[in-house]
Amino acid sequence: MNPLASSLAPQAALAAGVLGALGLGLAARPKALWGRLLGALALLAALFALRLAPPDLLPPLISVDMKSLGWQLVIYAGALPLAVCSAGDDVETALLLGATLGMGLLCVAGNLLMLFVGLEFMSLPAYLLVARAGEGDRSRRLEAAVKYFFAGALAGALFLLGMALYYAQTGLLGPGASALGPMGRAGVSLMAVAALFKIGAVPLHWWLPDVYEASAPEVSAFLSTSMKAAATLFLVRVIQIAPDPMFAAVLPWLGAVTALIGALLALRQERLQRLLAYSSLSHAGLLILGVGAWARLGADPQALASLLFYLGAYALMSNGAFLFLAASGVKTRAELRGYAARSAGPAAAFAVLLFALGGVPPTGGFVAKLLILWQALRAGLGVPAALAAVASIVSLAYYLGLVRDMYFESPEGEPAAAPAPADAARARLIMLICALGALALGAAPLIYGELSGGLWK
């Protein structure tokens, strides 16, 4: 096969999936099962098609290397839970696959223009997903979607402006600029700000908790995993195209502060989805610290592999945690009290996920955190790493608090708050898989030595 075509095979599979989903709408009474099946199959096909990609292909627009395949792996796999747990109608499936396709384009973008196309392509369906998916109070979801849209539009505008400034000075839309003047640096900064907006770095995070809280839990799961991975990649790509020393200087501190503030804000949350939103903010901080360490180490492949491992582990943990909310119908910490006595299985899986999110061995969350701290210390970032360590202590306080609510407390007054939603079985199954995966990743450095050793080189 033509190398360009085969390297774009995953994206082609997703595009076919989008068309198929729209075709599904033509059927008289499409069954939800078909939509879910189509979504999952398209994602699996995209995952499989990653095998076809040639290892090194660097034409001007499209850039495929081993690492871009890794990002795609995380992103497509991270979207699977939503595909399985969505309502399964034609529009939702098309939106999900469309957003994922945008992320797939981002993964192979070789210059700023492609990057912008990917950014918009993944964002527009996501706004609609937030507004549309889920049951119950629609007005809050609409409000959140509008907020999300404005934040995203602002990020897109900033990126365009930055790109224009960069182009005006260098005449380039890709890498290769020698030294940047003030205008070019301003342009690069604006592009990075746009990326940080999408990741949700403090103080550009104001939209994130509201959006994550109002969306359906499975959509929040998608936003916090695949979307977060794509946004991180977006930042990495901007730095790859226009490496500027200020990234190495600023990003580690920004990441540490984000991790700390996210953790502190999560501490006082009563509603679980909002708590998980802030927890996701805190994890984003660690990711930004990882990107900063990577930039400081001179675009070191080990540091990038660490980031990928973090995103992979986080995809399991965050998907699992949000899907617990979907599976159990529990909304507040008060409803969580004594949950373990009511349903032991989901409680145990959630406890594993919480320990993993908190970075407690022997889970994958620990290995992920270890890798980021490691890269930070390799880059000589002792103080930001210590701040991130403090953040992880703070965040453990609320994760432990949730375990304590589930296991040690007895329900106040009326037990068994919300009955579990009707089709919770799928969400429960996915959550279980995520919990097992998060646990298994904990042994990764020992068991998969060869496998991840290959990733290191």
């Binding site: 407690v360 061995p361 701290l373 210590a386 991840s452």
Partner: protein, 486 residues
């Protein structure tokens, strides 16, 4: 599977088996606890018989980023593994009649597995995993089966240790990174990392290790989790906490922090000595002020461990081996005391010193054992505590760390030893020999039954045995402590 791996895999398998075996979980726990104890004796046997230097090593191939599954064992680590297995079996018997689900038994077996792993790991990554993995079962043991304030105590316990150990993790990573910069090789193997030069970062790295291990010892002012955790845990949980988990901190200092960074260890010696002396005295003073018997014993642990730390710092044969023996002694003695407070609490649902009185008449067997363990704890000659304390003290007195020309730390230690009698004897007297007051609940306290007496006979016989024949124990421990001598 090698013997060393079996030492932690067997209890872990026991945990899974307990979780799955429903109503028969206590029998499963008993079977696996016995098996683990037998295995630890088999492992310990050549050490007691032979020279006792490094005995058995499992070396895995380094996988990703230099992490390898590797274990090692010598007299100190195997003694602690045996102590873990022994106290685990004691806990099984002590909880035999408790109304608890399979989760309880599974947690204890998982805890024993993780503790054995801590004492055996030769790879720092592995060490850290086991170190943190001890927290999860203990968190549930305190939180699910503890007394009134258990929820708060469980979270506090977890958070304190986690907070300390994440800084330890940063320090370990810093050492690994520095080693890679110097040699180009990624490794987490403790032996290869020894003596890595950290340059100007060394004090910070050492501080991180000290915080991580210090929380566990616990060094004042990092100790505030201990009274809560030890008091609120169920009796068997307190036995494991005080008996084995407190030793993790000292073991970490001896095995990891000091050999990894000999330079800072040397220059921090006066600070460490002062902290240890403060521990010995502050813990004793706090114990004197307690009105709750269990809390009193908890504070006494702080004092005892401070004393052990002084012995470790002395840097000569007597002090170091005395401290190591005292670690084992404290596990047995304090374990026995916590068990008896548990028996008392089961019967009377009270633990206050003023809630009792006259128990020597109502429960003579309990009074005998409690007195025996108390005297062992304060160092009566002929019992195990005496040997350890005497050796520690004479070691400290001869050590070269002096203050203004005086053996300052020996004086601190001696004051601590004296204070031990000042808190332990009045407490013993108040509970067992004082006349029953109007609010006394002593009437509810029946004497020990055969099972309970059996456990305590075993523990007391061990105290006497170590007290009368200390040399065989010391010779098993001494070779593994050579690195601490100066």
């Amino acid at each position: 599977m090698s013997l060393l791996s079996a030492l932690w895999v067997v209890p872990l398998a026991g945990a899974l088996a307990c979780a799955l075996s429903g109503k028969a979980a206590r029998w499963t726990a008993l079977a696996f606890a016995v098996a683990a104890l037998v295995l630890s004796f088999i492992a310990l046997k050549p050490i007691v018989a032979g020279d006792g230097s490094a005995f058995n090593v499992v070396m895995g191939a380094p996988g990703a980023f230099g992490v390898a599954y590797s274990l090692t064992a010598d007299g100190l680590s195997l003694s602690l593994v045996a102590l873990t297995a022994f106290l685990n079996l004691v806990c099984v018997f002590a909880s035999w009649s408790a109304e608890v689900g399979p989760g309880y038994w599974a947690c204890f077996q998982a805890l024993a597995a993780a503790l054995a792993g801590v004492f055996l790991a030769a790879d720092l990554f592995l060490f850290y995993i086991f170190w943190e993995a001890t927290l999860i079962p203990m968190f549930f043991i305190i939180g699910l089966w503890g007394s009134d304030n258990r929820r708060h105590a469980a979270v506090k316990f977890f958070l304190f240790t986690f907070a300390g150990s994440i800084f330890m993790l940063l320090s370990l990573i810093a050492v690994v990174v520095a080693h890679q910069r110097a040699t180009g090789v990624w490794t987490w193997n403790l032996a290869s990392l020894m003596g890595t030069d950290l340059g100007s970062a060394a004090p910070w790295v050492f501080l991180g290790l000290l915080v991580g291990f210090g929380v566990k010892i616990p060094i004042v002012p990092l100790h505030t989790w201990l009274p809560d955790a030890h008091t609120e845990a169920p009796a068997a949980g307190s036995v494991m906490l005080a008996g084995v988990m407190l030793k993790m901190g000292l073991y970490g200092l001896i095995r990891v922090a000091f050999p990894l960074m000999p330079g800072p260890t040397e220059s921090w010696m006066p600070i460490l000595g002062t902290l240890a002396g403060i521990n010995a005295i502050y813990g004793a003073l706090c114990a004197m002020a307690q009105t709750d018997l269990k809390r009193l014993i908890a504070y006494s642990s702080i004092a005892h461990l401070g004393f052990c730390l002084l012995g470790v710092l002395s840097g000569n044969q007597q002090g170091v081996t005395g401290a190591a023996l005292q670690m084992i002694n404290h596990g047995i003695t304090t374990g026995a005391l916590f068990l008896m407070v548990g028996f008392l609490y089961e019967r009377a649902h009270k633990r206050g010193l003023s809630d009792f009185g006259g128990l020597a008449v109502r429960a003579p067997r309990l009074a005998f054992f409690f007195g025996f363990a108390t005297f062992a704890s304060i160092g009566l000659p002929g019992l195990n505590g005496f040997v350890g304390e005497f050796l520690c003290l004479s070691g400290i007195a001869q050590s070269p760390i002096l203050f203004a020309g005086l053996p300052f730390f020996a004086i601190l230690g001696a004051i601590g030893v004296t204070l031990a009698a000042a808190y332990a004897l009045p407490a013993y007297q108040a509970v067992f020999w004082a006349p029953e007051g109007p609010n006394s609940v002593s009437v509810r306290v029946g004497d020990l039954d055969a099972r309970e007496s059996g456990i305590l006979w075993t523990l007391c016989a061990l105290m006497l045995w170590i007290g009368l024949t200390p040399s065989s124990w010391l010779s098993a421990l001494a070779p593994s402590l050579k690195g601490l001598l100066r």
